[in-house]
């Protein structure tokens, strides 16, 4: 299975690089710090609804951290290979573009899942002191994974467009922040454009998950967004190839 071979190689490169461990450490420390402060806030305000009072804040914070983390994970996926010239070598092997794209995507998603799963240590600790209903958490973490996969898809696509990792990261931030901020100031938008833009907001799709609800429309949106990114990636690779660009 060449998809597995590509994914294994990507995982070996992630786990063999210091950059990854630095990134993972920053992510986990910040997630832990936010849990500490959110828990403090929850206790102080005498919260009773753990799903709305604690997890909603915590999951939204982890979402923000993912927004910072993922572009740094995806930037190298194609840009580095293009810069090194290894991408060209890949095209000389009997593999289809789609196998390479899917292999890289799965490897990066696996890394995101691993990091998100590591933050599950927080509710596990909490269960020792306070009753934690698992249902809303499962929804929240499922949402984080879907959102993470969408971020990875976006980053993968951008990485396929350039040979500069910095450009890839910057452009991915640009796109993701656009999808985040698009509905921030609803008052500034006309009703028509709001109606057009609101469904585009990647992050509005995450709110129900953070509150412990799974809506199939949100799931479908995130999955479709991801698949569209993968299709764009394939298209980008193919176009550059036909034009003979490195």
């Amino acid at each position: 299975m060449t998809v597995v071979a590509v994914a294994r190689k990507e995982l070996a490169l992630y786990f063999g690089s210091l950059f990854f461990y630095a990134l993972a450490a920053v992510f986990l420390v910040l997630a832990g710090y936010r849990f500490y402060t959110n828990l403090g806030f929850f206790v102080l305000m005498g919260g009773t609804d753990v799903a709305r009072g604690l997890w909603q804040y915590q999951l939204l914070d982890v979402q923000g951290l993912l927004l910072v983390l993922v572009p740094l994970l995806t930037m190298r996926l194609f840009a580095e290979e293009r810069k090194l010239g290894t991408l060209e070598l890949l095209w000389t092997y009997p593999v289809r573009d789609v196998e390479v794209v899917v292999g890289k995507f799965l490897a990066c998603v696996a890394v995101v899942v691993l990091l998100v799963a590591a933050t599950a240590v927080h509710p596990v600790i909490l269960t020792r002191f306070y009753p934690v209903p698992p249902g809303p958490l499962v929804a929240g973490y499922g949402g984080l994974v879907l959102l993470g996969a969408a971020f990875v898809g976006c980053g993968l696509f951008v990485s396929a467009l350039t040979e500069s990792q910095l450009v890839a990261a910057a452009a991915t931030y640009g796109i993701l922040f656009f999808f985040w901020m698009v509905t921030w100031n609803e008052a500034a938008l006309s009703e028509g454009s709001l109606r057009l833009l609101l469904p585009l907001s990647l992050f509005d799709r995450f709110y129900p998950f953070a509150r412990g609800a799974i809506d199939t429309r949100d799931v479908a949106y995130l999955v479709l967004f991801t698949l569209a990114c993968l299709a764009f990636t394939l298209f980008a690779l193919d176009t550059r190839r036909w034009r003979g660009l490195r």
Binding site: M1, T2, V4, A5, V6, R8, K9, A12, L13, G16, S17, L84, G85, T86, E88, L89, L90, W91, T92, Y93, P94, V95, R96, R241, W242, R243, G244
Partner: protein, 314 residues
């Protein structure tokens, strides 16, 4: 040409925007042949190689690799080819063996055969000692060997090698050349180079391109003969250079006189006549010939001649 063609290229063209890098090249390489692909930098060698390797499709023309059409059956073509790119690129953070294991899986070598295939190319390329080192930590010579190892992996019948000896030190060049010579008869080898000695030593046939067009095709000796019509002597004379040059130029049969390192290079139509006529002319003026030797143009000059003058049909 022996055997069925392993590579068949017909009117190949490739444009990058407005620049036509390959402008209608046609040639065939028979199975089991070792063929050199020569040309100055920017001639279109690497572009042609990349097309044959499947990296990007041609703009126009037909390419068949091991009997398969490159555009319609890309995977079948790639299965038949091992490609060694110029400036062998790698993942610097992977170990040699891990990297070759990855390539083995990418080449769809059966799982049970992967370890054996990797071990064979490690041994064949002299990489046993560094199998667990990071590629980024290897010397240039070893990295080139890793490049050759990934091309050889899976025993593809056709090897496309783009400047396999570039950047190597002389000892490594000899090693690489021996490695390639060892493949004679087993594989079809199509390799580009601008080191002419290498081509002369290894190849039965040479294909020369310049400015995106084929300028010559033939055995290295045959090409040398074809352009070796002119005879040349190198001469040292103890006379005033300007006068000597003038006198030499006036000798019948002399075509050109050019000053060289403390002497002159004289070209004419016939070797024996040329030496005698020049010698006598010098003696008549009362100067002395300090040195006189014949020179045959090497492949180097044949190549330069071809590239400068344009097409010479085979």
């Amino acid at each position: 040409m022996p055997g069925e063609p392993a590579l068949e290229v017909r009117d190949l063209r490739k444009s990058f925007g407005r620049v036509e890098a390959v402008a209608g090249v046609s040639f065939r390489v028979g199975a089991g042949e070792i063929v050199g692909f020569l040309g100055p930098n920017g001639a279109g060698k690497t572009t042609t190689m990349r097309i044959l390797a499947g990296i990007f499709p041609p703009t126009a023309g037909e390419v068949r690799v091991a009997g398969h059409d490159l555009v319609r059956e890309p995977l079948a073509c790639r299965r038949a080819v091992g490609y060694f790119p110029e400036y062998a690129p790698f993942y610097p953070d992977l170990g040699v063996q891990a990297y070759l294991g990855f390539v083995a899986r990418m080449k769809r070598i059966a799982r049970a055969a992967q370890a054996g295939a990797v071990a064979r190319v490690l041994a064949a390329c002299g990489l046993d000692g560094v199998a667990h080192r990071r590629i980024g930590a290897l010397s240039k010579g070893y990295r080139q060997r890793v490049g050759l190892a990934q091309a050889l992996l899976g025993e593809p019948p056709i090897l496309l090698l783009d400047e396999p000896t570039i950047g190597l030190d002389p000892a490594q060049v000899v090693e690489m050349r021996e490695l390639l010579a060892g493949l004679r008869g087993e594989r079809t080898v199509f390799f580009s180079s601008h080191v002419l000695a290498e081509v002369a030593a290894l190849c039965e046939r040479v294909i020369v391109i310049a400015r995106g067009r084929l300028v010559a095709e033939g055995g290295p000796g045959e090409l040398a003969r074809r352009l070796g019509g002119r005879r040349r002597i190198v001469l040292k004379v103890d006379g005033p250079p300007a006068e000597v040059a003038g006198a030499l130029g006036a000798v019948p049969g002399v075509l050109t006189v050019e000053p060289a390192a403390d002497g002159f290079v004289v070209e004419g139509a016939s070797e024996a006549e040329l030496a005698r006529a020049v010698g006598e002319a010098v003696k008549q003026r009362g100067w002395t010939v300090l040195e006189l030797r014949h020179e045959t143009p090497g492949l180097e000059e044949v190549f330069l001649g071809l590239v400068r003058d344009g097409p010479h049909s085979a």
